[in-house]
């Protein structure tokens, strides 16, 4: 626990917890209409007492849009990373634990998939499936899987060679029991660290996809979509890009800081 009590740990953890609370609680307490109500007389107005972050091209309040957009961005990133862990975990464990031909074939496939830039893979899948909220999750989830499978495989391989695994095997433990009892708990720290860092990348990927029009679609509000909408008004209303951009940046920064500290605490073998 003491490892978290550094400036970086407290700030990163604070940002992550705040963003999670905003993403979960805001939709419960703030009605949708706050973010969708248009005020044509106050289009593209700067930050003021009425609209603390200003308004967009349709006169909608940017504060409420960015707060309610948190849910979409956080949910997509969380679900995508969860998906890549759920697919990557069995692949990585089987590959690392059993080794041999299975390992060769799976890792050749994973290495090939790693030649495709993750964002390109996600964009292609999203374009193929048709962009919407669910397909954005699937696209990012698939795009991140090879990377996670690789990390998990390395960890499983390391654990499989440990003396305690050998001892358990000598005592007649079955493979399934071994994986659940010994391998899984010992690779968990690495998965948690990588998962946190992947969350940061997933937030960026969602913003990138939506920015290109191949991610979240209106009327769903997301940060990337808000930045995309701001492109035509940069000259007159730069805050329309700055507000959602800052939301992405602060969230990703928080996750990166938290990830760094988690790695120091849980997985001290690897250095930042």
């Amino acid at each position: 626990m003491r490892g978290f009590m550094t400036g970086k740990g407290l700030l990163g953890g604070g940002i992550v917890i705040t963003m999670l609370l905003v993403a979960i609680l805001a939709p419960l307490f703030i009605p949708d209409t706050f973010a969708t109500r248009m005020d044509m007389r106050a289009r593209l107005s700067g930050p003021s007492l009425d609209h603390i972050f200003g308004t967009d091209q349709l006169g909608r309040d940017l504060f409420y849009r960015v707060v309610l957009g948190a849910q979409t961005s956080v949910m997509i990133a969380g679900a995508a990373v969860l998906m890549s862990v759920v697919i990557g975990l069995p692949l990585g464990i089987i590959s690392g634990y059993y080794g041999g031909v299975i390992d060769n074939v799976l890792m050749r496939l994973v290495d090939t998939l790693l030649s495709f830039p993750a964002l390109l893979l996600a964009l292609t899948i999203s374009a193929v499936l048709g962009p919407n909220l669910t397909n954005t999750i699937i696209a990012i989830g698939i795009a991140f899987t090879p990377f996670l499978a690789r990390i998990i495989r390395g960890e499983a391989l390391r654990v499989a060679q440990m003396p305690y695994v050998e001892a358990a095997r000598a005592a007649g433990t079955t493979d399934l029991k071994m994986i659940i009892r010994h391998v899984l708990p010992n690779i968990m720290p690495a998965i948690i660290v990588q998962g946190t860092i992947s969350l940061a990348f997933a937030i960026l990927a969602e913003a990138g996809l939506s920015f290109l029009g191949l991610g979240t679609q209106p009327p769903d509000a997301s940060w990337g979509l808000m930045i995309q909408a701001s492109r035509d008004y940069l000259d007159v209303a730069p805050w329309t890009a700055l507000v959602p951009g800052a939301a992405v940046a602060i969230t990703v920064l928080g996750l990166n800081m938290f990830g760094d500290v988690l790695r120091d605490v849980l997985d001290p073998r690897t250095q930042t």
Binding site: F116, I125, G213, A249, L253, D260
Partner: protein
């Protein structure tokens, strides 16, 4: 020799797998090329006729064979959106992207290495926290956000650089660099932040080693210890990471080139995806993955040149 043959075979196998994956992904598209050409409202009989003549009724394996045969013989087919042959179109866009990839990598390495070393030799002091914190902020900002900031500052407010368009280096070298500058900087800043972190941690590891203590003990100037003993050993790992980042870079160019209307591979791929131009999607995705894979191979080989201790095995 055996190593090289092995390596080449492995590259060919990977290229083959890349082509299979690309073909498979684009073939789960609902709707096909015939539909794209004639539109959804077209006469079903004419559509069936076109499908037959394009060979879309053949089994997938035959279609794949025809596509890969075309790739190998230089007949890459026609783009549906641009109504041009694909091979020359891609050749031209690769040059444009090559310019910004090289420029952004140069910018990133030029600043990241000194900054990372500087942070490492002042570990845990203000110099380190300044460099490390800026680098952490740098990796957390999306590339297109950097892009928007750069447009606002350098194009709109100061007017120093154009915010959109591409000029071919053969036509006007200075113009080409000016047009490529902002997109390269947008890509380079994120990359620089990443490489600074990498250089710092590698250097910290190396500066704790025995031979550094020996070098200090025998009275070498600190500058020599750091730059010729320390950095020389850190440069290999840093370049390897830089090479791995080329893949990341080719993902980012899609966003950044679109933002700056810079007509390179990223822009082309985006247009293909947006318009569901299946033949163009297949070729450009294949080319990008192949370039990334070959770059990584090149970096592996370069590593052996830089660090002769690593022997081919």
């Amino acid at each position: 020799m055996a190593y090289i043959i092995n390596r080449v075979l492995s590259v060919l196998l990977t290229l083959f797998l890349i082509s299979v994956i690309t073909f498979a992904v684009t073939n789960i598209l609902p709707g096909d090329v015939a539909m794209m050409i004639m539109g959804t409202q077209s006469n079903p009989e004419a559509l069936a006729g076109l499908r037959e003549s394009l060979g879309l009724n053949d089994p997938l394996i035959v279609q794949y064979g025809r596509w890969i045969g075309g790739l190998l013989t230089g007949d890459w087919g026609h783009s549906l959106v641009f109504r041009e042959p694909i091979a020359p179109l891609i050749a031209q866009k690769v040059v444009a992207s090559g310019v910004i990839v090289v420029m952004s990598m140069t910018i990133a390495l030029l600043f990241a290495i000194p900054l990372g070393v500087w942070a490492a030799i002042h570990r845990d002091r203000w110099q380190d926290s300044t460099a490390s914190t800026s680098a952490l902020v740098g990796v957390s900002l999306p590339d297109f956000f950097w892009g928007i900031m750069l447009i606002l500052l350098f194009a709109r407010a100061l007017g120093w650089f154009p915010s959109s368009g591409f000029v071919h280096p053969a036509d006007d070298l200075l113009g080409a660099i000016r047009h490529a500058f902002l997109p390269s900087l947008a890509l380079g800043l994120g990359l620089m932040a990443h490489l600074t972190r990498m250089t710092r941690s590698t250097m910290i590891g190396i500066l704790q080693q025995e031979f550094i203590r020996v070098a200090r003990a025998k009275g070498l100037a600190e500058r020599e210890v750091v730059w010729s003993y320390g950095l020389r050993n850190a440069i290999g790992p840093v370049l390897t990471v830089a090479g791995l980042q080329v893949g990341y870079l080719f993902g980012s160019i899609i966003v950044v080139e679109s933002l700056f209307n810079y007509t390179g591979m990223g822009w082309l791929t985006y247009q293909a995806l947006l318009n569901r131009d299946i033949p163009l999607i297949q070729s450009s995705v294949f080319v990008i993955a192949a370039v990334v894979m070959l770059t990584n191979l090149l970096v592996d080989l370069l590593y052996v040149v830089i660090d002769p201790r690593i022997r081919l095995s």
